[in-house]
């Protein structure tokens, strides 16, 4: 009925247009090998951040364990695609990663999601650490601390782009649906949500598992694109990196996460030449940005095309007033 409505078409065109522009830029060499890495890093970060935003921003559950789920996805895809070094193997790996991660997320989610706030944060942090240590110890399968190398490079950037778009689509569709609203209600007021007939455990778990599954996708693509993974890539710091993107973009704003991933990706390019000073600059930037924009770039609002028009409209009126 409304499958072909204006908004959907608008976003579809935007997604395809972006792809074509990127394609053009890559084929003309405008995006060199180096900027392609930046592009892919941004796209993977989009996948990871949007997934984490679903957990933190929409269901309101404070998870610090995203890196753990990412690791499961990365290792599953890495191992399987080393066995079957072709696209079939990669997809098998991604699907395997999603399934495995979802199972783990379900097992840990059901008992821990009744914890509140920072207690949940600690529990999820613990889960991620347990996952990582398990990987270190499964020497035969995962090659332990030395990690896997020589993973076939199959996830070329267009594939990563497609997955990023799919992830965003799934998360946005979910959040803008009745179950999604139920999930958001839990964030707003758990007791009231329950009194409205919402099975809070169920929807918290759905958001958690869905978020974890997207982390697995991000991890799998990471493994395939970079060819090398080690347990050390999936520490607490990685979870923090993703959390920073989510908060920086605006908690509960999918477009915010996308923009933040892009901004931070580009910032990184600019900061690289600063050597060891760069982390100092980055830290200062983080502090200053949060002080001046504590709710993130977009707050909990979404960037919309109509909103953009509105913004320009308003700006021009301000100008006119200024003239008077």
């Amino acid at each position: 009925m409304k499958l072909v409505n204006k908004t959907n078409i608008g976003w579809l065109i935007l997604a395809i247009a972006t792809f074509l522009i990127l394609q053009l830029a890559v084929s003309t060499g405008l995006i060199s090998a180096y900027y392609e890495i930046t592009l892919v890093t941004i796209l993977i970060n989009v996948i990871l951040a949007v997934g984490l935003n679903l957990i933190i921003g929409f269901s309101g559950q404070f998870s610090l364990g995203h890196a753990g789920f990412m690791a499961i996805g990365a290792y599953t895809a890495g191992i399987i695609s080393k066995y079957f070094p072709h696209y079939g193997g990669l997809f098998l790996g991604i699907i395997g990663g999603i399934i495995l991660t979802s199972i783990v997320a379900l097992i840990v989610g059901v008992p821990t999601l009744r914890l509140k706030g920072d207690y949940l944060a600690i529990a999820t942090l613990g889960v991620a650490e347990i996952i990582r240590i398990t990987i270190v110890n499964m020497q035969n399968v995962t090659n332990g601390a030395a990690g896997l190398s020589g993973i076939p490079y199959l996830a070329k950037w267009p594939l990563v782009y497609v997955f990023a778009v799919l992830t965003v689509l799934i998360v946005v569709n979910y959040t803008r649906s009745s179950p999604g609203r139920a999930t958001i209600a839990i964030r707003e007021d758990e007791i009231a949500a329950e009194s409205m007939g919402i099975n809070t455990t169920k929807y918290k778990t759905i958001a958690f598992v869905l978020g974890a599954a997207t982390a697995a996708v991000g991890g799998a693509l990471h493994a395939s694109y970079f060819s090398v993974i080690r347990p050390g890539d999936f520490t607490f710091n990685k979870s923090i990196d993703i959390l920073i993107i989510v908060v920086f973009g605006g908690i509960g704003s999918v477009t915010g996460s996308i923009i933040a991933a892009i901004v931070l990706g580009i910032l990184n390019v600019f900061l690289q030449p600063f050597g060891s000073l760069r982390m100092i600059i980055y830290a200062l930037a983080l502090i200053v940005i949060m002080i001046f924009k504590p709710s993130g770039l977009l707050g909990n609002k979404e960037f919309t095309i109509s909103g953009l028009l509105h913004l320009f409209g308003r700006k021009s009126t301000i100008k006119e007033e200024g003239k008077k």
């Binding site: 799934i170 209600a185 009231a192 009194s195």
Partner: protein
């Protein structure tokens, strides 16, 4: 048989018995008041009925298709599904969401929209979404909130927030509606409007309502029967006239003129 039957309900908080040995009964399509001094246990009773707290002792049964079902031990959302709707003494709207979303959320559990269907955006999803929206707007119209559907709940004036709470509770399609001090913080004029509204919804929705309120102009006007709690115990029960004349109630609650 009555719609709701509460027997020997007791709740301890540590050594304090906030509700003790309470019996209460609601029939279909009744409007009943629950009054009592501050701290008497009225809100606690609501919390027990809706599964927010678990009773220490006693039974709570609801009639469902001619069968008696116990709600004790059930989760709040199950109890809501079984037909108990409520509002909160301290307003608990989803503050950062729009008025419409507040109502839609309350309709979710009865709408049975699946997660997968929503993600895949099948055509049937759009149909059910549209239907829910229409229903929600219908409800909001009754409370004259239809012009505010895209306002954030927190930006509504106090009185409208109270009304939205009631709409939200109604959206869960309850058999019994528990209202906890709906007129608190309203001025006499607003209270009078609310009184009319409560009467109307009870008539239109053929609903059973249990009402906690300290504003006697509201309680005495709309309630057919009134229960009085004091120190967790039911000290009186009767028509508004009987209650107004009850010495014990006057002494503990109403105060002499």
């Amino acid at each position: 048989m009555s719609l709701l039957e509460v027997k020997k309900l007791t709740k301890y908080f540590g050594g304090l018995s906030a509700v003790s040995n309470v019996n209460l009964e609601l029939k279909s399509n009744e409007l009943v008041g629950l009054i009592g001094p501050n701290g008497a246990g009225k809100t606690t009773l609501f919390n027990l009925l809706t599964g927010v707290y678990q009773p220490s002792e006693g039974t709570i049964d609801i009639e469902n298709d001619g069968k008696k079902e116990s709600v004790v031990g059930k989760k709040t959302y199950t109890i809501t599904d079984m037909g108990f709707g409520r509002t909160f003494q301290n307003i608990r709207l989803f503050k950062d969401l729009t008025v419409l979303d507040n109502v839609l959320i309350a309709m979710h559990s009865k709408s049975k929209v699946g997660t997968l269907k929503s993600i895949l955006r099948l055509p049937s999803y759009y149909a059910s979404e549209e239907k829910m929206k229409q229903e929600a707007i219908e409800l909001l119209k009754i409370f004259s909130l239809e012009n505010k559907i895209s306002e954030l709940a927190k930006n509504l004036p106090y009185g409208e927030q109270r009304r939205l709470e009631i709409v939200r509770a109604l959206a869960t399609k309850p058999k019994v509606l528990f209202l906890d001090e709906p007129a608190a913080g309203m001025n006499p004029q607003e209270t009078a409007d609310l009184t009319a509204l409560i009467r109307q919804i009870q008539k239109d929705f053929k609903m059973t309502i249990l009402l906690i309120e300290h504003d006697m102009s509201l309680v005495m006007n709309v309630c057919e029967r009134i229960y009085v709690l004091e120190y967790g115990r039911m000290i009186a029960h009767g028509t508004p006239e009987e209650i107004k004349a009850n010495d014990q109630v006057i002494k503990a609650y109403l105060g002499g003129e």
